[in-house]
């Protein structure tokens, strides 16, 4: 490909060109060929050179076999009733339990659907302010993590299976040995803890062993943000309120997809930008970022710059709005006429025009100085208290993680660590900074205990392995990002003899071997009697007694009034007093029995400065992988197969480079490069990403795992694709001095970006807010709708319901939670990398990305479009099925009947939207017993040779219809939520009855920015889209980039 062909193509086209990949943009012959195969590389598989005779032989054989295959008798099945049926359980109906899935210690509130004791699906907890019914992809996929057959199966000591009792006695004897030395050789390593009950157990352990130390390490945690917060004292942690922000500026912050608050932030941000009949204004987002993110893709203005330049930009911005900027490296000298000067001027003007209604956010991967700058700007603009509030940390004993781990490794090296207990599946052997040499130092520890879900790289080097209990198997509590205490309750007994972190930790207390339930209940019994919390019921009254409080907390899944906004305290790292005996007065001071607690290690490293590291060479940027994070989800097939946002690569890590840099170095997508950085080397296949800063390379953590499990282990040729091999403790997120070299090897990448392309028929429609206000018809004019009479078939009549969907692509952030929710709800199998590369991925709803601009243009715009089945009124698929396996239902769905399908694939061939999926092979895992209870019993598990597709979650429609009929009423609007709609954090997907003019979906479809994709084909899609509206700042919008030129 060359840029000349791209430029000539852009010049010759009319209107705006949207493209999905650089291959499409350049219109290369390879892309053409790819496009014209229905299923890439597949169609000709049986085209044997022997020709017709071979074909006939195969056909007759398969016909005969098909006949024989149908001749099986249905196997006899059993019914196994309960001996004593649990109360409230109605066989055949699910129960929902409120719980939480912690992520890096912070709770993600959920409702878990349980069928006869099997958790099958996770939804957000609609009453919890951190969720409001939505979840992110990781939380959705946690259900597969629960049933993962590769989980650690037993307690082992040096590889031999041992019972819990033996582990307990080993810990007791280790504890009594340490007792004499005040715990001088005892160390604990865990991730951040927000759980009040676990923090209390930790405090009591530290009180019993005053010389013992607790180290915290989370490889993806933001030490920069934490250091800035700690410097502010008790109220340093920001919580953003996007529902009040009209102008948002991010300094390398990916707030829409990263961080514990992202689900709620997406919701507020989308609401603030949604144009409806009532709402005519939208917020404006400026993204200054060092690597393309989904937040940058949503921005009205996006400026790419090196990560080390962000601080200088922030300092200039602070200067322009009159905020005091703390001393630091001077900003890059810029004259006002330069690009940066222009941006600073325009943004500061906009910010000052929205004092108290604007917001500046520093990115988690930026150093403390940038966070301090953002805070200073927000203060100067009067945003504090309105769009951002600062409060105490939800983490107990927040500390600098890098320093804390380095402290531990130093002690290990000096032989001071006799007993090391690693809690919660941290895997530092894989993820610790490479200069610490954690694996070598671990060998000097006399007794190492590893507690985690998997027998991973670290577990292999430890003496004791204790399987962790999955959050769906254990009792516990944790705080959500807003501070609300959220309760974790088990949905199922531990499948693999797991014990939660707090249960392992209690072995070092005076009451060892307590179970999670007892620990939790005991903690909250005392907290209820008197503690730092203000516990109130929903109407603000105190509870009558503990039982009333506890039942309510378990029912709701959280404890009201514990949010930071409601005055919730920092998570105390102290021991609460025992419950006073009946009649005795409560202690007057809350902290009466607080023992002396070892203070968390002070921040020893100076705030990381942008100038750290060697100069010259390229800049290296580290990021957690968007689907497998730091490798903790490596063995989760759903997340591995989820196309990564923006690149749509599955199953692999890539190094992102700007297309121009790739051209200079002669690199194509999939070329393996060697990255040399500060004496360390790693390899990675490259991917060209428009909008990436020119002189930077972004690498993603989470790959190159060797002991992740059957799904996550890296193949031999990909073991070096590990970004942790390059990470040093002095530059955790970016640094200069990277050299890259082409190795000449190529690595096949399975990217779905070019699958199912709609051949440039402008599936996304975009206008600026101003254009839309001036002429709302501008959206309609971007396409063509044929008259309704243009069909030979009679119209369908719908007397009852008429289902339809509207997807607001202006709200969609491309997070892909819908895809995972659909996989979980509809028993969709994973197919593996090779099959994905052949275009055989099975996802019923995909998220397409379209880009506008040229590859060299750093202000590339990206649009996201979730594509489920359109459920067309004039459905092309229905007409061509020879066995009537796909038919039009009385409520407008294009039904797919698996048991009738014979696999001709005519329907898929005829589908212009390419939303049908075919089981070329037996993708569904029918052998692994542990996966059986995970499947949704309300949806067929499809076998080989069957076409499948989105059904609008017809199982949910049917259940709602039956429930409504039993109560002699109609289905209420919002009673049926499709899985994708329910999970969507930005409420972009709305489903409902089109026959009801008052339904939300009917109202959305009346909006003038509503349009159907490929309407020219007269398919009359039932899923329609609401066009994207952008809100650019006229001062920054280049005149040449007006949206439509018809």
């Amino acid at each position: 490909m060359n840029s000349t062909s791209i430029k000539s193509r852009l010049a010759g086209s009319h209107g705006r060109v949207y493209w999905r990949s650089l291959g499409e943009l350049a219109d290369t012959p390879e892309f053409r060929e790819y496009l014209h195969r229905e299923f890439p590389e597949q169609a000709s598989e049986w085209n044997d050179p022997k020709g017709r005779r071979q074909f006939l032989k195969l056909m007759s054989a398969s016909l005969a076999l098909a006949g024989v295959g149908a001749c099986t008798k249905q196997p006899t099945e059993e019914i196994v009733p309960y001996v004593r049926q649990p109360e409230d359980l109605v066989p055949g109906r699910p129960l929902f339990f409120a719980s939480a899935i912690p992520f890096s210690g912070v709770a993600h509130p959920v409702l878990v659907e349980s069928h006869m004791g099997h958790p099958t699906k996770i939804e957000g907890n609609p009453e919890h302010q951190a969720s409001l019914g939505a979840t992110d992809t990781f939380t959705q996929a946690a259900i597969l993590g629960l049933y993962d057959p590769d989980r650690a199966g037993a307690i082992t000591n040096r590889g031999e299976i041992k019972p819990w009792g033996l582990f307990l006695s080993a810990m007791l004897s280790a504890g009594s040995q340490q007792k004499g030395r005040q715990g001088g050789g005892l160390r604990f390593l865990s991730g951040p803890i927000t759980s009040p009950s676990m923090a209390e157990v930790m405090a009591s352990v530290l009180a019993a062993f005053p010389q013992a130390k607790w180290h915290q390490y989370d490889p993806m945690s933001s030490d920069g943000a934490r250091a800035a917060a700690l410097a502010e004292g008790a109220v340093g942690d920001p919580i953003y309120h996007f529902d009040k922000a009209d102008v948002v500026v991010t300094l390398d912050a990916d707030f829409l997809t990263c961080g514990p608050g992202s689900v709620r932030y997406q919701k507020d941000f989308a609401t603030q930008r949604r144009i409806t009949e009532e709402r005519k204004e939208m917020s404006r987002l400026y993204a200054i970022e060092s690597t393309p993110t989904l937040t940058g893709a949503k921005a009205d203005h996006r400026l790419a710059m090196k990560a080390s330049e962000i601080e200088g930009f922030g300092r200039q911005l602070a200067g322009a709005v009159g905020a005091p900027a703390p001393a630091g490296p001077s900003a890059r000298a810029t004259d006002p006429a330069s690009v940066i000067g222009k941006w600073v001027a325009a943004i500061s003007k906009d910010l000052q025009a929205h004092r108290g209604r604007s917001l500046v956010i520093a990115g988690d991967y930026q150093p403390a100085s940038v966070h301090t700058l953002a805070r200073s700007i927000n203060q100067a603009l009067g945003n504090v208290g309105s769009t951002v509030t600062y409060g105490p940390s939800v983490e107990a004993g927040p500390t600098d993680h890098a320093a804390s781990l380095a402290d531990l490794v130093r002690a290990m090296d000096a032989g001071q660590v006799e007993v090391l207990v690693m809690l919660g599946g941290l895997n530092p052997v894989y993820s610790a900074p490479v200069d610490l040499k954690f694996a070598d130092k671990l060998k000097k520890v006399n007794l190492s205990v590893y507690h985690g879900l998997y027998v991973d790289e670290t577990a292999f080097l430890c003496h004791w392995n204790v399987p962790d209990a999955h959050p769906l198997e254990s009792w516990g509590d944790a705080r959500s990002f807003d501070g609300t205490v959220t309760i974790t309750q088990p949905l199922i007994a531990p499948l693999y003899d797991g014990h939660s972190a707090v249960e392992v930790l209690t072995t070092f207390t005076s009451q060892p071997d307590r179970r999670g339930n007892a620990i939790l209940k005991d903690h909250w019994t005392r907290a209820f009697a008197g503690g730092p919390w203000t516990i109130r019921s929903a109407d603000g009254q105190p509870f009558k007694n503990f039982d009333a409080f506890w039942r309510r907390a378990l029912h709701d899944g959280f404890i009201r009034g514990t949010a930071i906004a409601d005055g919730g305290p920092a998570t105390p790292l102290s021991v609460m007093p025992a419950v006073p005996a009946a009649g005795a007065p409560a202690p007057t001071t809350q902290q009466a029995a607080t023992p002396p607690v070892t203070p968390p290690p002070a921040t020893t490293t100076p705030p990381q400065s942008a100038a750290a590291g060697a100069q010259g060479g390229l800049e290296l940027i580290f990021r957690p992988d968007p689907t497998v994070w730091d490798g903790r989800f490596s063995n989760n097939g759903w997340l591995q197969e989820l196309p990564k946002p923006l690149t749509k690569v599955t199953w692999d890590a890539t190094a992102w480079v700007n297309p121009q840099l790739a051209r200079e170095r002669g690199l194509e997508d999939g070329d393996v490069i060697e990255l040399r950085y500060r004496g360390n080397t790693a390899r990675m296949p490259i991917f060209r990403v428009p909008g990436h800063p020119q002189q930077s390379v972004t690498v993603f953590f989470g790959y190159g795992r060797q002991k992740a499990g059957n799904v996550g282990n890296a193949p031999k040729n990909a073991e070096a694709f590990n970004a942790f091999l390059l990470r040093t403790s002095d530059a955790p997120w970016f640094g200069n001095g990277l050299e890259i070299a082409k190795t000449g090897e190529r690595y096949p990448l399975a990217a779905t970006q070019e699958h199912h392309v709609m051949e440039g028929r402008a599936p996304v429609r975009v206008a600026t807010l101003e254009e839309y206000r001036k002429d709302p018809k501008i959206i309609e004019e971007q396409g063509e709708t044929p008259p309704r009479t243009l069909t030979m078939y009679p119209e369908y009549k719908y007397e009852g319901y008429k289902w339809g969907m509207a997807i607001d692509i202006g709200s969609c952030t491309g997070c892909s939670a819908c895809t995972i929710a659909c996989v979980a709800e509809n028993n969709i199998p994973i197919v593996g990398k090779e099959e994905v590369a052949m275009g055989r991925e099975m996802h019923w709803i995909r998220v397409d990305h379209y880009f506008a601009g040229t590859e060299d243009d750093n202000t590339v715009e990206a649009y996201h479009q979730p594509v489920p089945c359109m459920q067309c009124e004039n459905a092309p698929c229905e007409l061509v099925c020879p066995v009537a396996a796909t038919t039009h239902s009385s409520e407008g769905l294009n039904d797919m009947v698996y048991n009738r399908c014979v696999g001709t694939r005519y329907c898929s061939n005829n589908c212009p939207y390419k939303v049908r999926r075919f089981n070329f092979l037996l993708y569904q895992d029918w052998d692994t017993q542990s996966l059986y209870p995970m499947r949704n019993p309300d949806v067929s598990v499809r076998s080989r040779g069957v076409m499948e597709k989105c059904t609008y979650c017809v199982q949910r429609i049917n259940q709602a219809r039956i429930d409504a009929k039993r109560e002699d009423r109609a289905i209420r609007d919002g009673e049926v939520l499709t899985a994708c709609q329910q999970v969507c954090p930005s409420d972009a997907i709305v489903f409902g009855n089109l026959n009801d003019p008052n339904s939300q979906v009917s109202k959305l479809k009346l909006q003038e920015r509503n349009y159907g994709v490929l309407e020219t084909l007269n398919t009359r899609p039932r899923t329609t889209y609401l066009a994207v509206l952008r809100n650019p700042n006229p001062e920054l919008e280049p005149a040449s980039r007006s949206t439509t030129e018809h």
Binding site: Q74, I79, R84, S889, S890, S940, V941
Partner: protein, 219 residues
């Protein structure tokens, strides 16, 4: 050139064509008969169970209501097979030492469930829902037969799709007043031929369009 075959062989060729047709029809019919036979559908077949529970005794003899054991029939797709506890409600007092009830007592004692063999077994791609049928006035006996007269349970209907769809196309003849749903002995009153049509309206039963949409039962 003379003919290879004599004229008289024509009769053989005609006969063999006829024979082929007859053979194909016989084979086809045979397969169809086998398909619809009890061997395939399990219709009218008795099934070995862990203990020989008699509906005839409990329903016909003692007059126990269906819902005493099949508790979720009005709420759920699944009517429920009672837990051992339900059996022991009575049998901890009655027939406490009867040898035939030993499996029940053993189940309760050892906390091990009874393992019944499914009698009415629809394929896994069919999603039948008891609650809506009961609510719309389809009696238990309509599909399950006179359970009160079955000493051992068997499947009375053939449960083929044809049988389901016949009623979904025209439900009226199989409807009865809601208060008679659990009455095994209810018979259609001869003097009220319009009853089915009336109930169809009164119970607001969907038309054949919705009832025969594929996704109503398959998903």
């Amino acid at each position: 050139m003379s003919q290879i075959f004599h004229r008289t062989t024509n009769i053989y060729s005609r006969l063999s064509i006829l024979a082929a047709i007859v053979l194909a029809a016989t084979l086809g019919g045979g397969v169809a008969l086998l398909h619809l036979s009890g061997y395939n559908t399990n219709q009218n077949m008795y099934v070995e169970q862990p203990l020989q529970f008699s509906h005839a005794h409990h329903v016909g003899g003692e007059g126990i209501d269906c819902r005493y054991c099949h508790t979720s029939v009005e709420e759920s797709a699944f009517a429920n097979i009672p837990p051992t506890k339900t059996c022991m409600n009575c049998h901890s007092q009655l027939w406490t030492n009867a040898p035939i009830l030993e499996p029940v007592r053993a189940s309760f004692r050892d906390n091990k469930p009874l393992r019944w063999t499914r009698v009415h077994d629809l394929p896994d791609f069919v999603y039948f829902n008891h609650s809506i049928h009961v609510r719309k006035g389809v009696g238990c006996a309509t599909c399950h037969g006179r359970v009160d007269k079955m000493p051992l349970m068997y499947q009375q209907a053939n449960l083929q799709m044809n049988w389901c769809v016949n009623c979904h196309r025209n439900p009226a003849p199989n409807l009865r007043p809601r208060d008679q749903v659990y009455n095994m002995a209810w018979e259609r009153p001869a003097n009220d031929p319009g009853l089915g049509e009336r109930l169809l309206k009164e119970y607001n039963i969907a038309g054949p369009g919705q009832l025969t949409s594929c996704s109503t039962c398959h998903r």
